[in-house]
């Protein structure tokens, strides 16, 4: 083991976090290398210095009562739906909610498309009514022949009478 490799492992060595084999390698290197031995000594001293000058705060008396007051209220009267909260139920509900939201969105989109089409058709119809003659074009054409305004007889008058019958019925033949 070289010094660079040893230096990387020194903290883990001091914390007892190396495997037995690796710790042995570090130990052998420290026995042979004065520089790395110095390094580990100073790290150990610094750790001891810090540990001896970090006084702990003590928990205030009565601190538990504050926690207890807050946890007692909701846990004493669990909601009827509280069984839905933990673990997999929560995920199942979330998945269901997302699926429902997507389905609803899809339906809304189609309804909107349909409404747009209906609006378009009704607008178009209004436009037709506003810009085109009240009588259908065919009526004008028919009037020309029936009223005789143009002086010509309706060439289809006879045909019309016969065409009313069903050509496929045997009794009409």
């Amino acid at each position: 083991m070289d010094c660079a490799r040893c230096a990387e492992d020194l903290t883990a060595y001091l914390d007892g976090e190396l495997s037995a084999a690796r710790a042995e390698q570090v130990q052998s290197h420290l026995a042979a290398c004065a520089s790395c031995a110095d390094e580990v000594r100073s790290l150990r001293e610094a750790a001891a210095f810090v540990a001896s000058h970090t006084p702990d705060l003590e928990v205030r008396p009565g601190a538990w009562n504050l926690v207890r007051a807050r946890i007692a209220a909701p846990s004493s009267s669990p909601s009827f739906f509280s069984f839905l909260a933990p673990g997999r139920w929560r995920w199942a509900m979330a998945t269901l909610a997302i699926a429902a939201a997507i389905a609803l969105g899809f339906m809304q989109y189609h309804q909107l498309q349909r409404r747009n089409l209906d609006d378009y058709i009704s607008q178009y119809m209004r436009y037709r009514q506003a810009h085109e003659p009240a009588q259908p074009v065919f009526s004008d054409f028919r009037a020309r022949f029936t009223n005789g305004s143009s002086g010509a007889a309706n060439p289809f008058a006879k045909l019309k009478a016969t065409a009313m019958g069903n050509p496929f019925r045997m009794e009409d033949q």
């Binding site: 883990a12 100073s42 000058h53 702990d56 705060l57 928990v59 946890i71």
Partner: protein
């Protein structure tokens, strides 16, 4: 503060007892939860205190942590991982509190080169002899820890002061084991650099 120095590894509850208490607390047994609180409250308080550097805030966040722990205990699947889970919740409250602070409350000097928060500290480069004579070494060390970049401060506090294993720390901070190992090493080097003058004294 008292003169009781951090030796958190010494007052651990045995795993079987802890598992039993957790099971009881999951079933709504408040007395069982009180025992868990009494076993861990001091450690959480001191972890949070070293992170926020304010006793009042540390007490407030410790209370928040234990209320949340009681309410979320049902979601803890592996009772053996209670300890890192507890510290992780406390850590989340610490970071949440940082985020709640408005930018105007944080001076530019309190941000490190990566924009992370560094607690404002007094000048620790006072004369080591004076500090030693006036018994101010506790304050010096507090300032040294508070002056570490946030990333190093949390892993340093969790390893050096709370005595947690590297794997537990990785679980708490959500980083890989090699990354945690490197961060702890750099934090220790940084701390040694900052206290080296006092070691000579």
């Amino acid at each position: 503060m008292t003169n009781k120095h951090s030796s958190s590894a010494g007052d651990r509850m045995d795993p079987a007892t802890l598992a039993k208490l957790i099971q009881g607390a999951k079933g709504g047994n408040v007395d069982a939860f009180q025992e868990i609180y009494e076993a861990f409250a001091r450690r959480i308080l001191n972890f949070v205190f070293r992170m926020v550097n304010s006793q009042e805030e540390a007490e407030d966040l410790t209370q928040e942590t234990f209320v949340a722990v009681y309410q979320k205990l049902g979601s803890l699947k592996d009772n053996g991982k209670f300890e890192p889970w507890l510290f992780r919740i406390a850590r989340n409250f610490v970071y949440q509190r940082y985020r709640e602070r408005t930018p105007s409350m944080v001076s530019v000097d309190a941000l490190d080169e990566d924009g992370r928060m560094v607690t404002q500290v007094a000048d620790v480069r006072k004369n080591p002899d004076e500090a030693f004579q006036s018994g101010e070494l506790d304050d010096v060390v507090s300032e040294v820890i508070a002056g570490l970049p946030e990333k190093y401060r949390e892993v340093f506090v969790l390893s050096a002061l709370q005595g947690l294993s590297y794997q537990q720390i990785a679980d708490i901070v959500g980083h890989s084991l090699p990354s945690v190992k490197t961060d702890i090493h750099r934090a220790r080097l940084e701390v040694r650099e900052r206290v080296k003058n006092y070691l000579k004294v």
